[in-house]
């Protein structure tokens, strides 16, 4: 059961208006080819859940520049003035989330949890409009889980079943996003025969991956 799919076909499954989680951190560990193909196919009105939007015209920044993004949930947009401009102009609806809360909200979506109880953001603008709960005399924000229609993931190595391994800081949000979307499309630096990734080095298990695309053409 190989999961390898032609990139055009894999990305064609994503409709306009879809909610996408996209792995990566300032463009490191981002699914470069999948992003390029989304832009090439002219997808629009996307909701993107990602740590950041990289730099102008780079990685997720390409989707911003292409005007493909309607809504963004991210922790940091400081290094991409185009995102900030579109936000101020009202072209993109941006929800800024503390990075640790973002990671935990995605995790909650993937782990079947009802939400995240966190001290981060209590008493700040981040808390506005949110439930709080007291546990053992301390107040926590209730942050809701995040899920997506698709997760676009970047891995170092995959096997044909879709088991994935990651490398150093290119790991970041990829493993957790692979658990929090209805359909997972992974891009891998290399695809190796089944059995070549030692079980202890499988960080995303094959059963959650739907489609696999090689990084090089």
């Amino acid at each position: 059961m190989s999961k390898v799919t032609a990139i055009e076909a894999a990305v064609a499954k994503i409709p306009d208006g879809a909610t996408l989680m996209i792995g990566g951190f300032m463009g490191v560990g981002s699914p470069h080819r999948l992003i390029d193909e989304l832009v090439r196919q002219g997808r629009k009105d996307l909701t993107i859940i990602a740590n950041d939007t990289a730099r102008p015209g780079v990685d997720i920044g390409k989707l911003i520049r292409a005007g493909a993004v309607k809504r963004l949930v991210a922790s940091h947009i400081g290094l991409n003035p185009e995102t900030q401009k579109q936000m101020i102009d009202g072209a993109i609806d941006v929800e800024l989330v503390p990075q640790g809360t973002l990671a935990e909200r995605i995790r909650a979506g993937g782990a079947g949890l009802g939400g995240v109880l966190t001290a981060t953001g209590v008493g700040t603008t981040v808390a506005e409009g949110k439930q709080t709960i007291d546990v053992k005399g301390k107040t926590f924000l209730v942050e809701e889980p995040l899920r997506a229609d698709f997760a676009l993931i970047s891995a170092w190595r995959a096997d044909y079943y879709g088991n994935l391994s990651y490398e150093l800081t290119a790991r970041n949000f990829n493993p957790v996003m692979a658990l929090a979307a209805d359909t997972v499309i992974a891009e891998a630096g290399e695809i190796v025969p089944v059995g070549l990734i030692p079980p202890d080095q499988v960080e995303t298990v094959s059963v959650v991956v739907d489609h696999l695309v090689a990084r090089s053409n």
Binding site: F25, V28, D52, T101, E104, A119, T124, N172
Partner: protein, 218 residues
């Protein structure tokens, strides 16, 4: 010695052997240059590594190993890599000994504002809120004033990063410790008087009878 060097050198003295430390981008990263001899510190980068160190030489950068700003870095032997969930588990779970961050404002309650200026700068908080809420020790490393205006105020008027009281504020003029009673002036920089610090500070400072001078290596 310029302002930034004074601040970085003084902050470096706060790090202890074996500490897990996170340095914010900008001024705080200078701290790595002035670690006391014999002190081994583990630097965390919130994008997923402990044991970060500067690139030893040009030309050995790898795409998959960068700091939180996306700049190539390297690691010490004994480093560990992990995903964003684990990274913030370390930050928020009380495993991070020290975080050093820049600041826009600190107030008499010891609260920090450092992540946005409404209508002007909306970069997003990144990991700042998690770091200030979760680290065992929060050190703010910043210039004492901005274009002549005090940054240490009675009350922050920019959005707070956290309601948590920070542990130490280090500027080019002074070392200040926020306490339940208020801001205590711990040290003044070489050549700076208590009166100069008070004049450059909007917040009320608690001034002990003797205020020692910051001791910095040359």
């Amino acid at each position: 010695m310029d302002e930034k060097t004074i601040i970085a050198k003084r902050v470096a003295q706060e790090l202890r052997n074996g500490n897990l430390v996170n340095l914010g981008i900008g001024l705080p990263t200078l701290v790595t240059k002035y670690l006391p001899v014999g002190i081994q510190v583990f630097f965390q980068s919130e994008n997923g590594v402990i044991g970060m160190q500067p690139l030893p030489e040009p030309g050995v950068a790898a795409d998959a190993l960068t700091d939180a700003g996306g700049t190539p870095t390297s690691i010490i032997p004994g480093a560990g890599a992990f995903d964003s969930v684990t990274s913030f588990c370390l930050i928020r779970g009380g495993h991070l000994d020290v975080t050093v961050l820049g600041g826009l404002q600190v107030d008499e309650a010891g609260q920090l504002a450092n992540w946005m200026v409404p209508g002007k700068m909306v970069p997003g908080m990144g990991g700042a809120m998690d770091l200030v809420s979760g680290a065992k020790r929060v050190i703010v490393a910043m210039t004492h004033t901005a274009k002549g205006a005090p940054k240490i105020l009675k009350k922050c008027n920019l959005p707070l990063t956290s309601v948590r009281r920070v542990d130490l504020v280090v500027t080019e003029l002074a070392v200040i410790q926020p306490t339940e009673e208020g801001l205590v002036l711990l040290e003044v920089a070489d050549g700076v008087t208590v009166e100069q610090v008070v004049a450059a500070t909007e917040a009320r400072l608690i001034v002990p009878n003797t205020v020692p001078t910051m001791q910095l290596a040359a």
